[in-house]
């Protein structure tokens, strides 16, 4: 029930963002997100609201840590 999906912000007007993922479009409210969201950002969406922005740098950092721990070269 708490399923929350990452969607990309296409446009923002007032407190409402148009978002899209895989061709599915939707509208979400920005009332409870705590960061400045901009067009092109990915946000975690749940029950009509954006909850958090996905931090791409942190994501890459996590992957880098995996990679180091495993001695693999997946991210160049």
């Amino acid at each position: 029930m708490c399923l929350a999906i990452p969607m990309e912000i296409i446009s923002i007007e007032d407190n409402v963002a148009r978002v899209e993922v895989g061709g599915v479009k939707n509208q979400v409210r920005l009332d409870i997100i705590d960061e400045q969201a901009a067009v092109g950002d990915f946000v975690i969406v749940h029950a009509g609201f954006a909850l958090r922005k996905i931090d791409r740098e942190e994501g890459l950092e996590t992957l880098r840590l995996f990679q180091e721990g495993l001695g693999l070269e997946l991210i160049k």
Partner: protein
Amino acid sequence: MNLLNKFRDPKLCQNLLSQIKEELEDEFRFMEVCGTHTVAIFQSGIRSLLPQGMVHLSGPGCPVCVTHDREIAAYLALCEKDLLVATFGDLIKVPGPGGRSLKTAQAEGARIKVVYSALDALNIALENPGQRVVFLGVGFETTAPTVAAVIKMAGKQGIKNFSVLSFHKLVPPALAALAADRQISVDGLLLPGHVSAIIGIKPYLFLAEEYGLPAVIAGFEPLDILQAILVMIRQKHESRARVENNYRRVVADQGNLRAMEVMDDVFERCDALWRGLGTIPGSGLAISSKYEEFDASKVYGQELPLVEEIPGCKCGDVLKGLIQPDKCPLFDTRCTPARPVGPCMVSTEGSCAAYHRYVL
């Protein structure tokens, strides 16, 4: 580069799995407390790939599954009043006393509308000023701030025909109840990613400090889950327990302060009833007096009726991880996804439903 695909990379996953195998000594029991984790673990095949000795338990992590009979009875009582009831779809098949559900009530003529968000319910109220609309508020910290934001909107717009029956529940107090229960033996907890996106890491610290339980906030991709499992096993190995945030791309350690502020403005903590776990102090959210005109329990005087529990349903033992779903005598006999007896069989995220779908 697509970030998400990387978190599903088969090579990385295999690598993590072999590390888990290497580091596992005899048995490790981990519990997840998030329906989305339940589904992800089954669906990705992780469950079937885990080495022998790794025991996966699904705890009380699906808001629908922990809905109490008495709460369902309150919904049904509300349906008898001249109202339009708006609810998330997951709730309408949940059987309550006598096997009756919102679906039964709907078939008998109650006006029940399935909505995707509390906002939809508010819009129905706006479009139908002659109708009184009640939204059934369920869910954990992920959902509660969205409902709180909608109540605030209703307040600002001075809407008079909208209210919420709030049975929202909080995850950390339930984890505290589980951790304190000596019957339960769990070696580590996988903490819910999106609940944590709201509340951050602090509310979980007691798990390690007071109970010596390793606990890891994890995302929902195979890599997230496998890595979290490895982290927990390592902690056990090293005989230390810590709470770690392994989902940093979404969860900030301090959580989402704005969402918490909205939630704290509209709700206050109350004791709540959990199916199978009973009353857990401070584990629920009631609408605060500041917003009482939107509190359906006050507006319609709707209390929790006393009811007889569903005979035979072992949801409580399943949610505590004491038994696997197939050990319930009703599993796949009287209780199936098509005809559920208990709530764990209703929602696709319920332990019994997931087990039914993926293990049988």
